[in-house]
Symmetry: C2
């Protein structure tokens, strides 16, 4: 008996010590610096059951999820273990305030990271929310180089909505051809188009119908491969889940559904949304949303989570994941017919969702009521010397091989780096018919940039138009680096600088970093050029940016701190030495 | 009539002017600097009728042939237009006397050339002969990045053999998988082997049997594609042709034949050979030969030129080109059964050819009669941490990410660059059984190098052994950068440092830059370390070097001239600035 008491006392002591250890450990979790060591490599993977070479981080695609708290410093030491290929990683949605050299945009903010090199990205996650990271060099994002960044609120703060658990989901489309093959096709005469994706991935898992192949075993396509078993979100009946959903598709606009469940949209790109209930979430590449879903359905079965292509005629099967009700077995497939999304070519509900997304009443950041400068960007498909391109105001962007940030900050000979003529601020509004194929589809190429007065307020109007195919206008998701912008309005047809400006939402516009323009429509944004650096603004469709659909903004580069020498080594910065 | 006379006079004048232009142009051809502008890109090509992505130079693979005269300076301005991939090009057989930074060996003599960069290679071709160039970074040679260098004698000199015309042929083996796939497989556990080549190419043209594919049209495999029509050498009956034959296979040892014709071997790696007549030329990757063939057969038909895999069980069809007798139509296929080469597993004739190749009596460069140092390199297949590797004396080479040449010449902190411990000079001669799988197949990895006393005479004995497969020993072609070596002897079994040295051929050894070791055999070389720089010496099988089958020699690096800054920018040379 005495012995039992002694044992009990010893156990209590142990428990106290353990609690102290946990407290210390917890403080460590709360610490300000989160250090990651990543190794980037090529590996054979079967995300959709079809085996192919993918770019992995620490053996996986998607890569590790970065979990942090607002105000933390993230350090990622990235080892490039590819054989002959450089890399760069962009931290999508992180503004990089004070660290513009960590934005990870090859040719804009850094030289690429060479094979064998270890590069240190270091930046503060200054705002809670749902973010992502991905390759920003060539088309490496589409080769598998991507993942999630989840930033939680400071310990003392609380979200303006209630939920029990937090889960994150990243959507992607997946192609069996390599990004080399895709890029070569895009740069060929005749143009070779990779076609629609073979599958849609939810958290890196999809399902390709291997029997479509002439010889599935030769191709190492195997639907029983555990790498392509569907992603499972297990829920406890009665609980509410915050699903953080991001899209990093190379091409596709998506809708997302949960069979038998409505859900409430509460966050977009790290900003609170005035909640609204829906059955379909439309999500464009580069966007993130949080939705709240209550596990309030029959718990004796599971439910499909589905994602579909919208905006392009879908030739890709629905992407599937499983909402698993505890204690139902997670591999029990839902017996019901899969939920189908809205019609792919019905633009109206997508425009309606865009219009529905407003800032949460209690957390509105009021925009400046006027702007200092308006840049109108006509989005067109063009040809240059017979090659297909995308252009803004008939100028197609080409990435320079000396990063702007270094060239401008270090006052290199700019004539050697980029075109000194800034790109146009507008198009021929009067005469251009956005509903027809342009009379002259030729464009010019440039890597000139827009220099914005520091702290000025800038409006950008994205104007959609017909592509080079009659009766066709595509959806483009535009992503701004280094800033969030207010979404002041969406409209159909040609933006009218007087009438439409008067209708801008200056009361409760949402702030975002990525926004779509809808077919034949326009989208108006406003942002404050208050982040010293050089920042890309581009269509987030991988092939469109590759084909020139982007611009670059510089602002306050003279206020940028000392650049790390690690970002140098290419183009005019080779052997560069600060005197 | 007068008019006709006037016309005649005008024509005569024109002819005179034209002759003068030609004379000037001819002088230009004779000029000392030959300037090339090359653009390196990925393109879809069908060298063996199967379409795949290849690396091209100015749109072709093989790339342009460099034609020069002894003493000329070659300038190649190389623009890297790949999307995310660096490059480096080695000028195989050119010693780079005074320009070791132009040797093009990534990690040894230069940093890789980044996408968007233009790099200038500049070097003198100091010796007439048949040479080659190829990618020397990752496995880019096997992706199509290669070509020929033909250096003719000075105008006043003449060859020690007679011929009417000069033609060159470059042999290669061809794989349908990408070099990324191959490299990833080699670095995987379990090891994934790419298998035997799908075809053999003669001047970039082969013939894959598309009907072996499940769906040839889906794969864009088309035997009528003109890109894969066989290479044709047209000959005039009675004339003698010098065929310059080089091999840049990734894997295969080859034999080469011309149906119905004997030929005379007269040159090897830029050195004259005491002529001998044969029906089969054995050629290993990295070697070049000149053969003389007389067009003395029935001129009413054509003849196959054939190449076959030897030394490995061939699973690749014979490579074919056409010897076309003028005026027979060049597309008239020889009706006869194709010439077949010797048995693939008959080593004896291959060893016999190696032994037959001696320096031409009238052009012997006598070797030093003794050497200052002997390095014995035991060639073995090994494992490190479960990965397959190739090793020398149980040390497997890994390429550093800061080039040795820069680190040593610029006196960087060498500890950060490569292992300071030099690799071993010998193996456990007494106890090692070269005829069995090693008792302990584990090896270690290193990027240490051998530092050779400047101007010293160095012997290298390459000792072959059993691989990790019982009763298997492979052929390895060894290539030395920056020097030619004397081939002092070949033997079977374990090299004996006293008995075998006594049998060295010090009378008329051929000089070469590439030499095979035969299965279970040894090969002894001697060279003078008289070229200041850092030089790779490695197995020329692309995958073997990738897996560690190489060493590096440094000699007289302090005598190297000022390094161009263009070779820097990677590893420890990033932002390096000469004080």
């Amino acid at each position: 008996m005495v012995k039992i008491l002694e044992l009990h006392r010893a156990l209590v002591k142990l428990l106290v010590v353990w609690s102290l250890i946990c407290l210390v450990a917890f403080s460590t979790v709360e610490a300000r610096v989160r250090h990651y060591r990543w190794n980037v490599n090529y590996e054979y993977k079967s995300p959709d059951c079809f085996q192919k070479l993918v770019i992995t981080i620490n053996g996986g695609t998607p890569g590790p999820t970065i979990l942090a708290q607002q105000g933390d410093t993230i350090v990622v030491e990235l080892k490039n273990s590819l054989l002959t290929e450089n890399i760069a990683i962009h931290w999508h949605g992180i503004r990089q305030i004070g660290t513009p050299w960590s934005d990870g945009t090859e040719g804009v903010t850094q030289c690429p990271i060479l094979p064998g090199d270890t590069f240190k990205y270091k930046f503060v996650v200054d705002r809670a929310g749902t973010f992502m990271y991905h390759g920003h060099y060539g088309m490496q994002r589409a080769a598998g180089l991507y993942g999630s960044i989840i930033v939680s609120l400071p310990s003392e703060a609380s979200e303006p909505f209630a939920y029990d658990y937090d889960r994150n989901i990243i959507l992607n489309d997946w192609f069996h051809k390599s990004t080399y093959e895709e890029a070569t096709g895009l740069s060929s005469i005749p143009f070779v188009w990779i076609g629609e994706p073979q599958s849609l991935l939810i958290n890196g898992r999809g399902r390709y119908n291997c029997s479509l192949l002439a010889n599935p075993s030769l191709e190492a396509c195997n639907v029983t491969n555990p790498e392509c078993s569907p992603h499972v979100v297990t829920v406890i009946p009665g609980k509410t889940y915050r699903l953080r959903i991001g899209s990093l598709t190379a091409l596709s606009a998506l809708s997302f559904q949960i069979e038998g469940h409505n859900f409430t949209v509460v966050e977009a790109d790290g900003h609170y949304v005035e909640p609204f209930v829906t059955k379909n979430l439309f999500i464009y590449s580069g966007e993130t949303y949080s939705i709240l879903v209550k596990a309030n359905q029959d718990p004796s079965r599971n439910y499909w989570m589905t994602t579909n292509v919208v905006g392009r005629e879908p030739k890709t099967p629905t992407g599937l994941a499983i909402l698993n009700y505890y204690p139902t077995h997670f591999r029990k497939s839902p017996a019901t017919v899969q939920t189908t999304g809205p019609f792919w070519n019905d633009t109206a509900p997508r425009v309606a969702q865009s219009l529905a997304i407003k800032a949460l009443q209690s957390s509105i950041h009021t925009p400046p009521l006027t702007s200092d400068r308006t840049i109108v960007l006509l989005n067109t498909q063009n040809k240059i010397d017979g090659y297909f391109r995308w252009s803004l105001n008939n100028v197609s962007f080409s990435v320079p091989h000396t990063p702007y940030l270094i060239a401008l900050k270090e006052k290199l000979n700019l004539n050697n780096v980029f075109d000194q003529k800034p790109p146009p601020e507008n198009y021929d509004f009067k005469n251009y018919d956005i509903y027809s194929v342009a009379k002259n589809t030729n464009a010019t190429s440039s890597n000139g940039l827009y220099r914005l007065k520091f702290n000025s307020t800038v409006d950008v109007v994205l104007q959609n138009a017909n592509t080079m195919t009659a009766n066709n206008s595509e959806t483009h998701p535009w992503h701004l680096h280094g800033h969030d912008f207010w979404v002041l309005g969406y409209g159909t047809g040609k933006f009218d600088v007087t009438k439409d400006v008067a209708k801008y939402n200056l009361v409760n516009p949402i702030m975002k970093n990525t926004v779509p323009i809808h077919p034949y429509g326009w989208t108006a944004l406003r942002f404050q050029a208050d982040n010293p650096g050089v920042w890309a603004f581009h269509c987030h469709i991988e092939s469109h940016f590759y084909m020139g659909m982007g611009v670059v903004f510089e602002s306050g580069v003279e206020k940028v701190g000392k650049l790390p020498s690690s970002i140098m080594g290419c183009g005019e910065t080779k052997g560069f030495h600060r005197p």
